[in-house]
């Protein structure tokens, strides 16, 4: 396989809470994104999906800091860059589509102006060229050029999400992060947005990191999947590994709790309990309080990521295989 576009190794991030407690939001997160690939980051709320994005983009809030790890983009270590250098990477090399398109757009600015602003901020071209680019971008995401001068509130939810995607594409990045891009949308609009993402990816050869809690969405569009739990990678592999050979009990139960039209089961499997609070993580495996197949070891020893087969990794004591040595 070719060289990864983005490679994340042993990434650990902490937050200092108001009471002085430390929340270990990410621990030892590893994954690769190859050019033109779509990778899904899946998990429940609070599992560290968004924190992973923000750590890679180095956009953590002031109480967060990266304590360990390496983030390489095209072979360059992003964590070693100065802030001005990093700014050169954001948006030009990797752009983000934020969760909640309504809040991410400025309500008193015309949509077209906001997209143009994103281009001009990076000094890529003059005003006239930027104006032309705005038109192209809008068309690319399926918004009529005539709606350039409208305000966000005149757009529907789906169109706002499209406008956000146009804005992210403004500087032709190589890598696109999409943070829950379809969560608040209706099924049909959700399908439209996913189709759009896929079309754009094919046309531009983009790599996409899709953050979502919806396993169905991931199955539709992703090539590989990272399942996260409590700030750690629980399982990582190709979509086929995850969906047809799930090894981690969390992945298995997550899949079983997903209603599937093809398999109308009697009762849905559920995962009792709630995800752990990051300020108060359990000892041993972070999933053990909710795990139905735990063994004694799980309560004391934090499992390492194990290679089950080529490109398929899981962090569970029940899985057999070699301990993973990431390059």
């Amino acid at each position: 396989m070719s060289e990864p576009l983005l490679s994340v190794r042993h990434l650990s991030t902490e937050f200092i809470m108001p009471e002085g407690k430390v929340a270990r939001a990410l621990e030892d997160v590893c994954f690769d994104v190859f050019p033109g690939q779509t990778i899904g980051l899946v998990g429940e709320s609070g599992c560290g999906k968004t924190t992973t994005l923000m750590s890679v983009m180095r956009l953590l809030p002031s109480n967060g800091r990266i304590v360990n790890g390496q983030v390489k983009f095209n072979g360059k270590d992003l964590l070693a860059l100065s802030e001005p250098e990093m700014r050169g990477y954001r948006w030009k090399e990797m752009a983000i589509v934020f969760q909640g398109a309504m809040n991410a757009l400025n309500p008193v600015m015309k949509v077209g102006d906001q997209i143009r602003e994103a281009i001009l901020l990076h000094d890529l071209m003059d005003r006239d060229a930027a104006e032309k680019r705005v038109g192209e971008l809008l068309e690319m995401v399926g918004i009529a050029r005539t709606r350039r001068d409208q305000y966000p509130h005149q757009y529907s939810g789906g169109m706002r999400q499209r406008a956000m995607i146009a804005m992210a594409l403004a500087c032709s990045p190589d890598l696109l992060f999409a943070d829950e891009p379809t969560t608040a949308l209706d099924v049909m609009i959700q399908a439209q947005v996913l189709e759009l993402l896929r079309d754009i990816q094919k046309a531009l050869g983009l790599a996409v990191v899709l953050v979502t809690h919806d396993l169905g969405v991931v199955a539709e569009v992703c090539d590989s999947v990272v399942v996260m739990y409590g700030g750690k990678v629980a399982e990582y592999g190709t979509a086929d590994h995850i969906y047809n050979h799930a090894s981690h009990p969390y992945t298995q139960r997550l899949l079983a709790s997903f209603p599937d039209l093809n398999r109308p089961a009697d009762t849905l499997a559920s995962i009792p309990g709630t995800p752990p609070r990051l300020t108060d993580l359990p000892n041993g495996c972070r999933f053990h309080p909710r795990c139905n197949v735990k063994v004694k070891e799980c309560e004391t020893v934090n499992p390492k990521l194990i290679t089950i087969s080529e490109g398929h990794y899981a962090a569970c004591h029940l899985c057999k295989g070699q301990e993973t040595q990431f390059a």
């Binding site: 429940e44 049909m188 809690h213 396993l215 539709e220 992703c222 086929d240 559920s270 995962i271």
Partner: protein, 331 residues
């Protein structure tokens, strides 16, 4: 199934008048309406689960709010156990709410942040002046909470909503709805705000309550996959009207209306090996003020004909309990 009808809705309309400006009034412009519910009829038998499915803006939430009396219908009848419900009707709204309860979409919003779990669950008893005896009331609250899976009860009684997770909050909402032992539950997107792993718990709980208590359920959702496994019947709505209705099995395996077909095709399948052709409708639901002429679905319909622009289709019966409103079905 010859179970008695719990709910019989006949020709229900709900229009919201659009505010007119002074200019509109001076110009004698006609009053415009948002036609949220536009001639809807359905029935619900005892112990049955009816799923009302559609995109946002199709009127499904308005139906829920009208059924529980939060909105007054513009026209049409709602019969609860064969008796007319509403102001000045046989059954007053207060009586109705002894037997019918609603579960709201957002468990973060539907609980008063300053009330304890006990206050919330016992509130319906207080409102209706039931079980004034403290011990009796406590026993009923306790039973409802246990049924809703809030065990052990002591751990929850004096908690405030912000101390609970989303799933726990939705259980509190359900306990509050079940404390009156209602015959009818109206659930408006009860799981759409919850994490996937929690969703299954809540869906299982609703299913269990229905089996144990024989409660009838109107389940409102935009997500066909969540209802697929526990609805008896499905009504698919588009722009204020039911376009297809029938037993869940029939509708899901043998959809007749092009809109239903499209909705089913975009349900995400959690298996990359089973990816299939998706029928993605372009554009968005038109606004419900100026409805399209003829069939209201024709502007987005992939198989629309000339006729569809002028003729509003009537229901065609496909099976014993399956009907759809589409001109293509007319032989």
């Amino acid at each position: 199934m010859n179970a008695p009808l719990v709910l019989n809705v006949r020709g229900l309309f709900k229009y919201f008048p659009v505010r007119q400006s002074l200019w509109d009034v001076l110009m004698h412009r006609p009053q415009k309406n948002v036609k949220a519910v536009d001639d809807v009829s359905f029935t619900l038998k005892r112990g049955e689960v009816l799923a009302v499915v559609g995109e946002s803006g199709c009127g499904k939430t308005t139906i829920a709010r009208t059924l529980i009396g939060l909105e007054e219908p513009t026209r049409g009848d709602i019969l609860f156990e064969d008796q007319s419900v509403g102001q000045g009707k046989t059954v007053s709204l207060k009586e109705l709410r002894l037997h019918a309860q609603m579960i709201f979409q957002d468990p973060y919003e539907s609980l008063n942040p300053r009330s304890t779990v006990y206050d919330i669950v016992s509130e319906p008893l207080e409102v209706h002046g039931l079980l004034k005896n403290r011990d009796e009331r406590m026993a009923r609250v306790r039973a409802a909470m246990e049924d809703a899976g809030l065990r052990p009860v002591e751990d929850y009684l004096n908690r405030y909503p912000h101390e609970l997770s989303g799933g726990q909050r939705q259980r509190v909402v359900i306990a509050g709805a079940m404390v009156l032992e209602p015959k009818l539950l109206i659930a408006d997107e009860p799981v759409s705000m919850l994490d996937v792993s929690i969703r299954a718990e809540i869906l299982n709980l609703l299913r269990e309550l229905r089996q144990k208590r024989g409660v009838s359920l109107v389940f409102i959702t935009h997500d066909l996959s969540t209802v697929a496994y526990f609805a008896d019947r499905i009504a698919v709505m588009y722009l204020g009207r039911i376009v297809e209705m029938g037993t869940a099995h029939e509708v899901l395996t043998n959809p007749q209306h092009p809109y239903t077909k499209a909705l089913i095709s975009v349900i995400p399948v959690p298996n990359p090996r089973l990816r299939r052709e998706r029928l993605i409708l372009q554009g968005e639901t038109p606004n419900p003020i100026d409805l399209p002429s003829g069939c209201r679905f024709h502007p987005r319909c992939p198989v629309a004909m000339e006729r569809c622009k002028v003729e509003d289709p009537a229901y065609i019966h496909i099976g014993s309990d399956h009907q759809a409103a589409c001109l293509l079905l007319q032989k």
